[in-house]
Symmetry: C2
Subunit: 189 residues, 2 copies
């Protein structure tokens, strides 16, 4: 009987959650991470400070949740791109290309991403790394990529190298970055 | 006449400055960047909050100064390493090797480094990038490294790629990361 009511509550809670994440992202974009407070986030989301604490214990957890949402959205995009491409090299090329432009467009993403210790990557980021490792592993098995370094290490290398895209000023430079990164995956002479 | 007195004041001011940077670094190491306050830093440095504001306007500027100090120390090390090595490939290899292990050891460094927008890299970080670009440029001129991508773009690529070292768990993995990064600088087939 209370099914509809529960759904309504769930929808409301999700809307509040999304508003909180949006408010936190806006504050970080405007002022940087240091100094972002729970009060400012509550105000930005249009809720009371006490209500905010029912959703998240601290600023860190909000930024982590926001980052998870971003990476999850990126990952969905990248999975689609992979499905539209054939061949190990072409697939990884298309995926790294798309990811480099995501990194190029999202400075704040990168900022928050690196805020979290590399050793404690969020779940979505770990999925992204696993996805890249899978593509690289397929390519290594097919003799397209080097096999002397483990696929997960090469995935982490690609992920970090493409972070340089955030500081590049032209799309051409982003393309060159993707090429250089892919060259590193080739069997060394 | 007031020379000695001025020197004493300068020495004192520098000691306070260093204590503030150390206190900020300890707080970030313990709790992460979000939530670090001027009050906590002042307490950690053993000075009053009002005194702290005579040195730095906000947390962001303290973290930036701390990061500058870290990168400057790293850069001095890397310059020494370069002088002890002969040959463009060997020099860059030795420098990237040393930098990768600095990145591997200093998680917090990396965290703060990335806090600052890539577009607004500190002065010391820009010097580090210029130094890497100079080494790569010499290597390209000598036909050792690829010349189809500008040296400053390749320097940014190396800098970011080696950031992956912070998340690696073994020294062997760090060495493989350096090798893969260097492979990317070779003339593509």
């Amino acid at each position: 009987m209370p099914r509809l009511w529960n759904e309504t509550i769930e929808t409301h809670r999700d809307a509040v959650r999304q508003a909180v994440l949006d408010a936190a992202a806006n504050l970080v974009a405007g002022h940087g991470i240091a100094g972002v407070t729970m009060s400012a986030i509550a105000q930005g989301a249009g809720i009371g400070r006490a209500t905010l604490y029912k959703y998240f214990p601290d600023v860190e957890s909000i930024l982590l949740a926001w980052h998870e949402r971003q990476v999850q959205a990126h990952l969905s995009e990248l999975l689609k791109i992979r499905e539209q491409t054939v061949g190990a090299r072409e697939q990884l090329g298309a995926v790294l290309h798309a990811y480099a432009f995501m990194s190029h467009a999202g400075h704040v993403d990168a900022e928050v991403a690196r805020l979290h210790h590399s050793r404690h990557a969020g779940q979505a980021q770990q999925h992204l790394l696993d996805f890249l490792a899978e593509l690289i592993h397929e390519g290594s098995a097919a003799g397209v990529f080097r096999a002397d370094v483990a696929a997960d290490e090469l995935a982490a290398f690609c992920f970090h190298a493409l972070g340089a895209a955030a500081g590049l000023t032209s799309p051409e430079a982003v393309l060159r970055l993707v090429t250089v990164t892919l060259n590193a995956l080739e069997q060394p002479a």
